[in-house]
């Protein structure tokens, strides 16, 4: 199953559950509070997911390591390499 199909399946399951409660499709005579709670649920979920995404990406950008030491080490090694390669007869 492709990821697209997995998503479609997941979304339609959630959509069906939502429709059952919100529109009382099976005529279960659910209390009115259930319905009131259920109908804005997709919006809540979207907002919650959006907040989670922004928080996650923001946190990861803020904590992205800056490898200053790696850059310094590389610069030093470049000098060393150039000197040694010159000695070995490399013409750049």
């Amino acid at each position: 199953m492709t990821k697209l199909l997995e998503w479609l399946l997941g979304c339609s399951l959630i959509g069906m559950a939502w429709g059952l409660v919100t529109f009382d499709l099976l005529d279960l005579q659910l209390p009115a509070q259930y319905r009131e709670l259920a109908w804005p649920m997709p919006v809540y979920l979207l907002v919650a997911f959006g907040c989670y995404s922004l928080a996650t990406v923001g946190y990861r950008v803020a904590t992205f390591n800056d490898c200053e030491d790696a850059a310094k080490e590389l610069q030093a090694q470049i000098k060393e390499a150039k000197a040694e390669l010159k000695k070995k007869g490399l013409k750049m």
Partner: protein, 250 residues
């Protein structure tokens, strides 16, 4: 003492590591990356070869590579040039054909990938028997150098979206510093058709799909020392297209 050092130098002779270096206009970087590779392979004692695949660079990369071959020996530096610039995927196919190792390491020749991590890749592979080991900028001590906030934001954002949509079981999808079992790489390049950034992503996503195991090693990515690094609107659009293609097909 001498015998112990001798053992370290000759350990694991049954395993050989072929490093594929696709190059295009890398005359400044190639000698440096080769020097670093020789240094770290020499210190760790693993058996290796470096395969330079130059795509007809007009700046004379190939002439530099020929000089390096004279310095380090034709058994260590193999030159497998091609007449013109062709895709990365075909460069790997071309390189694998000439690789005598049972493991293949792919990396960029522009010094953004440091050979000091290769012994860690090899240890990691042995530790878990992984089919491929991928370097990751996003985990542990991994990181980048030379990226501004915009670049970091795009990178993290793209990675987050890819993780949500594809759940690939690897943290760095677009990285191109990896170690593969040779037959695994052969199988994967055969199947992967994408270009650019998406190619690396497709490789690791397909690896998961085919049931291969993936290990990860944190790496520091030092953005191009010489030459220009590019990330424009075009790259972003083609990345998104590729991502959606993988989303619908894997």
């Amino acid at each position: 003492m001498a015998s112990r050092r001798g053992n370290a130098k000759t350990r694991e002779q049954s395993d050989k590591y072929s490093v594929l270096l696709p190059t295009y206009n890398e005359r400044e970087n190639l000698p440096l990356i080769v020097w670093l590779l020789v240094k770290y392979f020499g210190e760790s004692g693993f058996n290796y070869e470096i395969i330079v695949i130059d795509d007809g660079s007009p700046d004379g990369t190939l002439q530099i590579a020929e000089q390096l071959q004279k310095i380090y020996g034709a058994d260590k530096i193999l030159l497998r040039p091609r007449a013109q610039k062709l895709g990365l995927g075909t460069a790997y196919i071309h390189g694998i054909k000439h690789a005598s190792g049972n493991f293949v390491i792919i990396m960029d020749a522009d010094l953004s990938h440091h050979p000091k991590f290769i012994p860690q890749f090899i240890e990691k592979q042995k530790e878990g028997g992984f089919d491929l080991v991928s370097g990751t900028r996003y985990r542990g001590d991994g990181g980048v150098y030379g990226w501004d906030l915009r670049r970091k934001l795009i990178s993290r954002g793209a990675n987050f979206i890819s993780q949500v949509l594809l759940r690939p079981g690897a943290s760095d999808l677009t990285g191109s510093f990896r170690l593969y079992k040779k037959e695994v790489l052969e199988k994967l390049v055969e199947q992967c058709v994408s270009k650019g950034y998406v190619f690396q992503m497709e490789m690791i996503v397909r690896a998961r799909q085919l049931g291969y195991t993936v290990g990860e090693v944190p790496i520091s990515f030092v953005d191009r020392v010489y030459g220009e690094s590019k990330l424009g609107g075009n790259e972003i659009v083609s990345f998104l297209k590729g991502l959606l293609t993988l989303f619908a097909t894997t």
